[in-house]
């Protein structure tokens, strides 16, 4: 079956985007809240302690989803930036801008919860381990990306330059994901969750973790839609204010 790409672009048109997100956002937000709470309540209250890690295993339900989101949000920003570069689609540039603060927060959560988990397990809050270091660099890229948007007044120029930065930062997002494979050293273990059943954690931890991940993903979708709607309105406001200024000059 052929995909109708024209219909896709039509739904991403700012006016259409505002129309459908106005209806979808409340549903997604409620679903996100429900799934998020179920995942964390299940993981925190209803799972046993790990025989090696004790109660610290409960940090798993916030650390792993936030770390996954930190990397995947940058990947989403990369796709949106490429769409901006190729098609000059304004909503995609604004969606990338909207996602950055969420990605930065997720990276910060992953780093802090990782440090808090690392102290009792590794005996240290921080180590210049490949994965930890690449995550710190990813956080700096998020901060730089957001600062660049704020520093440039013309929105199209800002979108061009931040898209270029996003392409460069993608190398570090990729490194954050695969650092433990590239360098067989450091404290951090490999992926906790994978499609290879032999590598997965036990089912009693795996199922609540999946729900927690779904909660984080839905929370991201709800927030990125809300923030993109705000950016579209802000752009319209900027255009109206510019027109007023020209008229009053």
């Amino acid at each position: 079956m052929a995909i109708n790409w024209n219909a896709f672009w039509e739904w991403a048109n700012p006016r259409k985007f505002m129309w459908w997100t106005d209806r979808a956002l409340p549903v997604i937000a409620i679903l996100a809240a429900v799934i998020f709470v179920i995942g964390l309540v299940w993981g925190f209250f209803l799972t046993p302690d790990d025989y090696r890690q004790g109660a610290t295993v409960k940090i798993f339900y916030i650390h792993v989803p936030s770390a996954m989101m930190a990397i995947n949000i940058w990947a989403m920003m990369l796709v949106a930036s490429l769409i901006w570069i190729v098609r000059r689609h304004h909503v995609s540039a604004l969606a990338a801008k909207s996602a950055a603060a969420i990605g930065m927060t997720m990276t910060l959560i992953a780093l802090i919860t990782g440090a808090v988990w690392g102290k009792p397990m590794w005996g240290t809050y921080w180590e210049w381990d490949p994965r930890l270091t690449s995550f710190l660099i990813l956080l700096l890229f998020y901060i730089g990306y957001m600062a660049l948007w704020e520093a440039i007044e013309d929105p199209d120029t800002a979108a061009d330059l931040t898209s270029a930065l996003c392409l460069v930062g993608s190398v570090f997002a990729l490194l954050s994901r695969y650092a433990v494979l590239f360098w067989n050293q450091g404290l951090h273990q490999g992926a906790s969750l994978s499609l290879d059943a032999e590598e997965n954690v036990a089912d009693v931890y795996w199922y609540p973790a999946l729900v927690a991940i779904a909660g984080f993903v839905l929370l991201f979708v709800a927030l990125v839609l809300l923030r993109t709607r705000t950016e579209i309105r802000a752009r319209r406001l900027h255009a109206l204010e510019m027109r007023e200024r020209v008229k009053n000059a």
Binding site: L40, F44, F45, D49, G54, A55, T56, K58, I59, I62, H63, S66, A101, I102, T105, L108, I109, I112, T113, V116, W117, K119, P120, L219, L223, L226, R227, R229, T230, R233, A234, R236, L237, L240, E241, R243, E244
Partner: protein
């Protein structure tokens, strides 16, 4: 409340920081949304009146 034993401080700190950061992000997103919405409405009213 589950018995977190000697790791209670670590686990509660991790969850506390997470909720604090997420609450801040949600609050900022909602506050900016409301502010921009209000400013746009005012600008559109000015436009339609003159």
């Amino acid at each position: 409340m589950p018995d977190l034993g000697k790791y209670a401080g670590d686990v509660l700190m991790a969850y506390g920081v997470t909720f604090l950061l997420l609450a801040g992000l949600i609050w900022r997103s909602l506050a900016r949304s409301a502010k921009v919405k209000r400013q746009l409405k005012a600008a559109e009213e000015r436009k339609s009146h003159g």
